[in-house]
């Protein structure tokens, strides 16, 4: 198990280096000069040239990359052009909000998608299956930004039930411990703040998680349906195992393998979706930071944020690989 993880971790290093190079080059080749965009209209040509020199934009790209790379491996992702703050600390400030939102969305997707899929897969063509499939298609076909706007319109605009934007009501949040508001409120036993946090997160999380929920439901359904026809299911029944245990113990654990693959693949979609959803809901996460960095051509901030997303993605894939091994003994023991 340990060698398995070590091998996977080592494998990710070249991936990260390659991505950093790619992102750096892509950002540089995007049209628009940050010096032009960020300096005021009254700036002289000399001001612009000075700014370019200060940010190192007058040097060849590969020199810039080398500087960036050597600093990055020491944990310095550079300084934002626009805010003049260190990129790393800016991202770290915003990251908990994004992770909290994504985790909550996944939670919603798994808690509703998987049982619904198992339910439908165990009784193909029943009304439960038809309802589940309809629900699944709804989730898959709904663009998250549109769904988000519709939720705001209905729940905030018309019904006035939930706050339409932000992460908390000003002044209500507890002192940060972890940076995750929901977790912090629980740690502080501040139930009012917890309730407030839930009210804020529920809409963006539904908007972000519905797509994944639909896909999970469909995949779980087909996976369970397939597994229920396996010989070992007949063996379990022939042993006298009741139908509930046949399904939840013998079938679901085997059906989990494709489900986990899909969760892993969909996390990428979810992560990129969070960038849009954060913007729709003014969620103060790193996605919103990325959008504003792109608008301003804030090169170090763009590179830093995208790299952070890459790292998250790599870590998630690692976790998924380990989860495979936990669930499927055949992977665990194969050298």
């Amino acid at each position: 198990m340990f060698t398995y993880i070590t091998r996977r971790v080592t494998g990710t290093i070249p991936v990260i280096i390659l991505i950093s190079l790619l992102v750096f080059m892509l950002v540089q080749s995007a049209p628009g000069d940050p010096a032009d965009l960020l300096l005021s209209d009254e700036a002289t040509e000399q001001d612009v040239a000075e700014a370019r020199a200060r940010w190192g934009l007058d040097q060849p790209v590969w020199v810039q990359y080398w500087k960036f790379f050597t600093a990055a491996i020491q944990g310095d992702l550079g300084t934002s052009f626009r805010y003049a703050d260190p990129v790393l600390s800016m991202i770290l400030d915003r990251l908990p909000a994004t992770i909290e939102l994504s985790a909550f969305s996944i939670l919603i997707a798994v808690v509703f998608g998987v049982p619904l899929g198992v339910w439908a897969g165990a009784r193909p063509n029943s009304w439960a299956d038809n309802f589940g499939s309809l629900f699944g298609f709804f989730g898959i076909s709904m663009p998250n930004f549109w769904f988000g706007i519709m939720l705001i319109l209905l729940l905030s605009g018309v019904l006035n039930l939930l706050p339409s934007s932000g992460r908390d009501t000003y002044g209500i949040a507890s002192d940060p411990i972890t940076g995750f508001y929901l977790l912090d409120s629980i740690l502080h036993r501040n139930w009012k703040a917890l309730w407030d946090g839930l009210a804020h997160i529920i809409m963006p999380a539904i908007a972000l998680g519905t797509n994944m929920m639909g896909i999970l439901m469909r995949v779980t359904r087909s996976s369970v349906l397939e597994v229920m026809h396996e010989d070992y299911i007949t063996t379990a029944r022939a042993k006298g195992v009741n139908e509930r245990n046949v399904l939840w113990r013998h079938a679901v654990r085997n059906a989990m393998i494709p489900i986990i693959t899909v969760v892993g693949l969909e996390l990428g979609t979810l992560l990129s979706g969070s960038i849009i959803v954060e913007t729709v809901f003014s969620w103060p996460g790193s996605g919103q930071l990325l959008i504003s960095a792109i608008t301003a051509r804030d090169y170090p901030l763009i590179t830093g944020t995208v790299l952070t997303y890459t790292m998250i993605f790599v870590v998630i894939n690692l976790v998924i690989d380990v989860l495979y091994a936990v669930i499927d003994p055949r992977i665990r023991f194969d050298k």
Binding site: A236, R330, F333
Partner: protein, 340 residues
């Protein structure tokens, strides 16, 4: 009448005129259509026939494990120790499965759950039926593995199915099936998927354990050689019906139904002489559309118009030898018997 009740005393399982159908979009598939046989306590009955003749469906009907929604017992009854299994509740039936009646299957490679250790899989049945602790179940699993002659059982119970060979897995399946001391073991083609050298080992193991544990065995196979060795009684099935039934020594020395005769001639060495193997002409008819009358008539060299009219009854042509064919009568038997 008195004779009948005495006969029933030793009978463990009695299948009476069993009819099982599958209902598909193409229509009703009458997979088993009027099958009758008894299994005595501790006896071995061989159910022989080609794939698709209904022998596995017969076993699944007894276990009430037909695929829900499509397969259903539509007629006849199955008496287990004199009680009709159809009248059992689902929970009552679960107490029978794996406890009183166990089953092993053709494919040891896919019949074990890949995500549980074999110890867990053997222990599960024990815990379920005997309500013992996890520790006792573990000990029982070790004991069962030793019984089916797997070396180092204490280590092996921690193995997963993919770490074992096909023969080993079938031993594990047997261990699971026998873990609660069932009165009846139904073995559905237990050796078909195994190497020839392993086949004999598994059959010997089943035979040996049967003697030790005193259980009855329903041996389902297409392999005449297997039943010749093991069975006390042989029933030959064709197209959902039993066409001939007798003790193996009778059936092998003087098969009477044209299908049984064809089956014997298609197996090398069954008659002891080197000769050209004969195939039965034609193919098994579609179960959606069985021929009228005798179902074998479309492939039978002796068939005539009379065979198409009504299905032949299973008739006792000599003591203990039942044949279902219009062309075979009791008059044939003594002649053949003298010849043999």
């Amino acid at each position: 009448m008195r004779q009948e009740s005495i006969d029933l005393m030793g009978v463990l399982l009695s299948v009476r005129d069993l009819q099982t159908s599958f209902f598909t979009s193409d229509g009703e598939i009458r997979a088993v259509d009027g099958v009758t046989f008894d299994i005595d306590e501790g006896a071995t009955v061989g159910l022989v026939g080609e794939s698709g003749c209904g022998k596995s469906v017969t076993a699944l009907s007894i276990m009430r494990l037909l695929s829900r929604g499509t397969g259903r017992v539509v007629g006849g009854e199955i008496l287990y120790r004199g009680e009709n299994l159809a009248e059992y509740s689902e929970a009552g039936m679960r107490r029978i499965r794996g406890n009183e009646i166990s089953m092993i299957f053709q494919e040891p490679m896919t019949s074990l759950n890949p995500v549980f250790t074999i110890g867990e899989q053997i222990g599960e049945a024990v815990r379920l039926h005997q309500g013992v602790s996890a520790r006792e179940a573990r000990n029982r699993a070790v004991e069962m593995l030793r019984l089916v002659k797997i070396a180092e059982p204490e280590k092996r119970i921690k193995d997963y199915p993919h770490q074992l060979s096909g023969g080993m897995r079938q031993r594990v399946m047997i261990a699971i099936a026998l873990s609660c001391n069932p009165r009846l073991l139904m073995a559905d083609e237990p050796t078909t998927a195994l190497d020839v050298t392993i086949q004999a080992q598994i059959l010997d193991l089943i035979g040996e354990l049967q003697e030790r544990l005193g259980m009855a065995v329903l041996l389902i196979t297409h392999d005449l050689g297997v039943v010749a060795q093991q069975a006390d009684d042989v029933a030959v099935m064709y197209a959902g019906r039993i066409v001939e039934r007798a003790k193996p020594e009778i059936i092998f020395s003087r098969p009477m139904h044209p299908y049984t005769v064809g089956l014997m001639n298609s197996v090398p060495g069954a008659t002891g002489k080197r000769r050209r193997l004969e195939a039965i002409p034609g193919i098994v008819p579609s179960p959606l559309d069985w021929p009228s009358g005798c179902r074998f008539r479309t492939r039978c060299t002796r068939a005539d118009d009379a065979c198409a009219h009504s299905p032949p009854e299973l008739v006792e042509v000599e003591p203990g030898h039942w044949v279902s064919c219009l062309k075979v009568s009791a008059a044939d038997a003594p002649v053949l018997a003298v010849e043999a």
